[in-house]
């Protein structure tokens, strides 16, 4: 029966429609906060010879040829040609942006700076500007001064304020190329964006690599959510054969050494296989974050040794505490854990049932009941109070300073992804720190008009962390304010000022026609930068690249603006022009919100776990004192784990919640067993408990032995917690129980007079 059930479960797990492995990395993030974008970032760097070794450095200098050589630009152009449909400009093309600014500079200056605008157009300021240009011409640094006298002789662009960040980029940050890619500040790298769409991301990267195959000096690195997911799926596929097998091998080794009998070992292993099969069937596809639960389940199979010894508080309480350990995760806003909390429940239930069946089948076979050393315990109230008091106090203090990671921060061990991510972070921005705002409209024009204030708000509030704004709304003035700005500009008497400027420039020995870009556009203001005129202008292709159909409305359009950051900013609560909070999206937003909330939520999950465990113990023993004592021990165990992780410099986060809750349950179980031993005045079968704990530690160590950082952290937490929890339970719970029993005036249990099985003659419970 066991065999049929297990084979059926395994068949369902393997043959179902859903894939066995999934590469998703954002399963802990609520669905509506996930990043829907499929951007792939291509980082191109040139491995050119150092100046001293450059074989061309000594040749005679050919000025024209020299000026035209741009290996990175050539490589980018080849990728554009090869992947034209998939390529997206990250920034507005430089020439079109400059032309747009020339056309609409006066409109784009915020009204609050119109006073300064009038001052700069005053005759004496115009004289000073022309004399300044003339004076600075003799300086070798004239061209590198940062101003653009030809396009802006009066320095009016300085008045754009924060709006300039959306139009011209961040001073000192990467600059857009003529095509709209980004070039690093030192010129040594280019960044291109591809929209993967439905195509396999690896195919696009391969195509890009082929496009530049004839330029071996160019190195291509690629990053992006879809690429990371592909790498994650490959890692899980590889890890699925290694980590659980390592855990199983360690378990077999431990049990073989501890039990020294084949049949009990076979019962535990058989039940373990059933448990894992149930976990896979109920849990769904295995992801990077959920694979550790498989190893955790294999470790938990060690409980079978204890089940044989019948040393739990009752026959059903132990498995029930273990099975419900992860149920508090149903309260958490992490979708992945909802399914796996139930899967864990089903898995432990299946394991317990299978173990019972197999134990019955193997009944009569002796051996395997060598419980090893026996410990005669007695309650130590003082030790218990000191231990729990100390750990709880330290835990409370530590909870204020916990280093917390968010649900979207998944550290992937893949070398290619890590190298690309690191290079992009060094040269451009943090690819994990991209914030997006979407505006909706019936047409793209409406959506563009709705996004006019977003760029300024992002630039104002993201401050020094901002590396690049990709916001079409920065180029547009809302219709409501356009006429007011036009009236303010008309009041400046521009035609007269421009005649003055021409005369002054000529008087300074300068050629007015050299400043035609400014003078002509200032003389003819045109329609102004409205959404409609912008969509008819040279920036239209770039703007339409930000639009996508609105899934929530028929014929609607979503227009996306993005802010590229170098890390997490001080605040992600940004108010728009209308005073409403900007609807920011992106992994960094989900992470920041979850991190701010996590310590408080952690208490909630721990409390829910304790309540469940305490209820089970109370139902099993009708002792409120024991239930409370076990609950306090469990909290102390969780605090001990937090302290251990802080000492090991491991940040806590949603990914580690299952390990934390399991450690609480393990402490509770150990406490209950120690109480039972004292209550029955019989020695505690420390060997069996030690074996069960070692099995769980082995599950953790199997994860630590992998190369994947997130698995290593989980394994470390599991191993540390399962090493600390039993000791705490054994030494603290009985003492606490004695104190609480006195405080609650609970009647002592009948003690040794109550008939109970002799541990040395245990039968399967």
């Amino acid at each position: 029966m066991w065999l049929i059930a297990t084979i059926a479960l395994l068949a369902v797990a393997v043959r179902r429609d859903a894939p066995l492995v999934d590469g998703a990395l954002d399963s802990l993030v609520p669905v509506d906060e996930r990043d829907p974008g499929g951007s792939i970032w291509l980082h191109l760097a040139a491995d050119l010879p150092a100046p001293a070794e450059d074989p061309e450095a000594g040749r005679e200098f050919d000025d024209v040829e020299e000026a035209e050589a741009d290996p990175l630009g050539d490589a980018a152009a080849r990728i554009h040609a090869r992947l034209g449909e998939r390529w997206r400009p990250i920034a507005p093309p430089a020439q079109e942006t400059a032309a747009w600014l020339d056309d609409h500079l006066l409109f784009l200056i915020p009204p609050q700076r119109h006073g300064e605008l009038a001052e700069r157009l005053a005759p004496e300021a115009v004289d000073a500007a022309a004399a300044g240009i003339r004076a600075r011409l003799s300086s070798p640094l004239f061209a590198a001064a940062g101003d653009e006298p030809r396009r802006d002789p009066l320095g009016l662009r300085e008045l754009l304020g924060d709006a300039a960040l959306g139009l011209r980029g961040i001073p000192g940050a990467a600059e857009p190329t003529a095509a709209g890619d980004l070039r690093a500040t030192d010129g040594g790298a280019l960044l291109l964006e591809l929209d993967a769409g439905d195509e396999p991301p690896a195919d696009l990267v391969r195509a890009a690599a082929e496009a530049i195959a004839d330029a071996p000096e160019i190195h291509l690195l690629a990053d992006g959510r879809r690429l990371r997911e592909a790498a994650s799926a490959a890692t899980v596929r590889e890890g699925l054969g290694r980590a659980p097998l390592t855990a199983a091998a360690l378990l077999v080794l431990l049990l073989a050494l501890g039990l020294r009998a084949l049949r009990p070992l076979a019962a535990v292993l058989g039940a373990g296989i059933t448990g894992v099969a149930a976990l896979l069937v109920v849990g769904g596809p295995i992801e990077l974050l959920s694979l550790p639960l498989v190893a955790m389940m294999i470790g938990a199979a060690g409980e079978g040794v204890v089940l044989r010894q019948r040393i739990a508080v009752s026959g059903w309480a132990g498995p029930a505490i273990l099975a419900t350990a992860l149920l508090p995760l149903l309260l958490a806003p992490y979708p992945l854990w909802h399914g796996w909390a139930l899967a864990w429940l089903a898995s432990i239930a299946a394991f317990t049932l299978a173990h019972r069946l197999l134990s019955v089948a193997f009944a009569g076979a002796r051996g395997g009941d060598r419980a090893g050393p026996r410990l005669r315990l007695r309650p130590w109230p003082a030790l218990a109070l000191v231990l729990c008091g100390g750990l709880l106090s330290a835990g409370v203090i530590l909870s204020e300073r916990l280093e917390v990671t968010g649900p979207a921060a998944v550290d992937l061990g893949d070398d290619g992804v890590r190298a690309a991510s690191s290079a992009i972070r060094r040269d451009f921005f943090d690819p994990d720190a991209i914030v997006a705002v979407e505006r909706r409209g019936a047409t793209i024009e409406e959506a563009l008009a709705a996004s006019t204030g977003d760029a300024a708000a992002l630039a104002r509030d993201l401050g020094a962390d901002l590396r690049r704004l990709d916001a079409p709304g920065a180029f547009v003035i809302a219709d409501a304010t356009l006429e007011a700005r036009r009236a303010a500009i008309d009041a400046l008497d521009l035609p007269a000022r421009l005649i003055d400027l021409k005369a002054v420039l000529r008087g300074a020995g300068l050629r007015p026609s050299a400043f035609a870009e400014f003078l002509d556009e200032a003389a003819d203001l045109g329609a102004g930068p409205t959404a409609a005129s912008t969509l008819r202008g040279p920036l239209a292709p770039w703007i339409t690249g930000h639009a996508a159909p609105d899934a929530d409305a028929d014929d609607g359009v979503r227009l996306r603006s993005r802010a590229f950051l170098r890390g997490e900013p001080a605040t992600l609560t940004i108010a728009g022009d209308d005073g409403e909070r900007l609807p920011l999206r992106g992994p960094i937003v989900a992470d920041a919100e979850a991190r701010a909330d996590f310590p408080r939520r952690l208490g909630l999950y721990a409390a829910a776990g304790l309540w469940l465990g305490a209820l089970i113990i109370w139902l099993a023993t009708r002792s409120l004192a024991l239930a409370i004592a076990a609950a306090i021990t469990a909290v102390a165990g969780e605090c001990a784990l937090l302290i251990a992780l802080a000492c090991l410099d491991v940040a806590i986060g949603p990914a580690l919640l299952p390990a934390l809750l399991l450690v609480g349950a393990a402490a509770m179980l150990a406490g209950g067993r120690a109480w039972r031993s004292i209550d029955r005045q019989r020695p505690l079968l420390a060997g069996a408990l030690l074996l069960a704990s070692l099995a769980q530690i082995a599950g953790g160590l199997a994860l630590v032995a992998t190369r994947e950082p997130s698995w290593q952290r989980f394994g470390l937490a599991l191993a540390c917690g399962c090493a600390l929890a039993p000791g705490l339970g054994i030494f603290a719970t009985p003492g606490l129980h004695r104190v609480l029993r006195a405080a609650l005036r609970e009647r002592p249990s009948p003690g040794p007079d109550v008939p109970g099985p002799d541990p040395s003659e245990d039968e399967p419970p």
Binding site: D63, A135, P171, G187
Partner: protein, 233 residues
């Protein structure tokens, strides 16, 4: 088969010699003409603690009215290790100050707009470092690159004259602003006689130096700076 000790030693020595010949050497990677010119420059710059020279600035620019370039006379002062001042005598000119990582262009006329504390853009930093490097003493260790060589490529332009061309690295973003600096050296002394800066927008700026005075006494230098340095105290 036996090998005599003498034969063994001879063959080992020959092998070592061949290996030494085949190893790439840094000096071979660059034109010897460039190296000789660099050595000439190095011999002059090595002993420069300060330098004062008459300066003629010539700018060819599309901003200027007419065909004549802008031509101004002035003074160049360099104080090791990283201070350079280019002062125009004309009241309509300016004074350029480079002081380590900081740079500014101050108009001589008080009512003209100046550009104090220029943004440290890559182009500004690159050119300022090259200008300082043209006069600053090179590192005493000949293996270390000079300021002319670091973050740049050295070449020699076509035509006559003892000249070196300093180019931004090929991948450098500086090339969007500056194409090259050509340094002309005095044939005998190795002093910098002329600097020509080619800008990417098409302008050319020429700095012609004459009447070089090196290593002036501190009082004389202070007296000179008092007259031309707007920030001199």
């Amino acid at each position: 088969m036996t090998i005599r000790r003498r034969e063994l030693l001879l063959s080992l020595t020959s092998l070592a010699g061949l290996a030494g010949l085949s190893l790439p050497r840094r000096a071979d990677a660059r034109d010897r003409v460039v190296d000789r010119r660099l050595e000439l420059w190095r011999s002059y710059a090595a002993t420069t603690q300060n330098l004062v020279a008459s300066l003629t600035t010539i700018r060819h620019s599309s901003l200027l009215d007419g065909d004549e370039p802008l031509r101004l006379r002035g003074t160049l002062v360099f104080v090791a290790p990283d201070r350079l001042l280019l002062h125009d005598d004309d009241a309509a000119g300016s004074t350029t100050l480079i002081d380590g990582e900081r740079a500014s262009i101050l108009a001589n006329a008080p009512d003209a707009r100046s550009a104090a504390d220029l943004q440290p853009t890559p182009a500004r930093r690159w050119l300022a470092a090259r200008l300082l490097g043209a006069f600053a003493p090179p590192p005493s260790d000949p293996e270390r690159p000079t300021a002319l060589e670091a973050d740049a490529r050295l070449s020699r332009p076509r035509g006559a004259g003892i000249r070196l061309t300093v180019l931004p690295r090929r991948e450098s973003i500086v090339r969007a602003t500056f194409r090259s600096i050509t340094i002309s050296l005095a044939p005998t002394s190795g002093a910098v006689d002329r600097l020509e800066i080619a800008e990417s927008a098409g302008d050319r700026l020429i700095l012609e130096l004459a009447d070089h005075q090196r290593n002036l006494e501190a009082p004389a230098l202070a007296e000179l700076l008092r007259g031309i340095d707007p920030r001199h105290t």
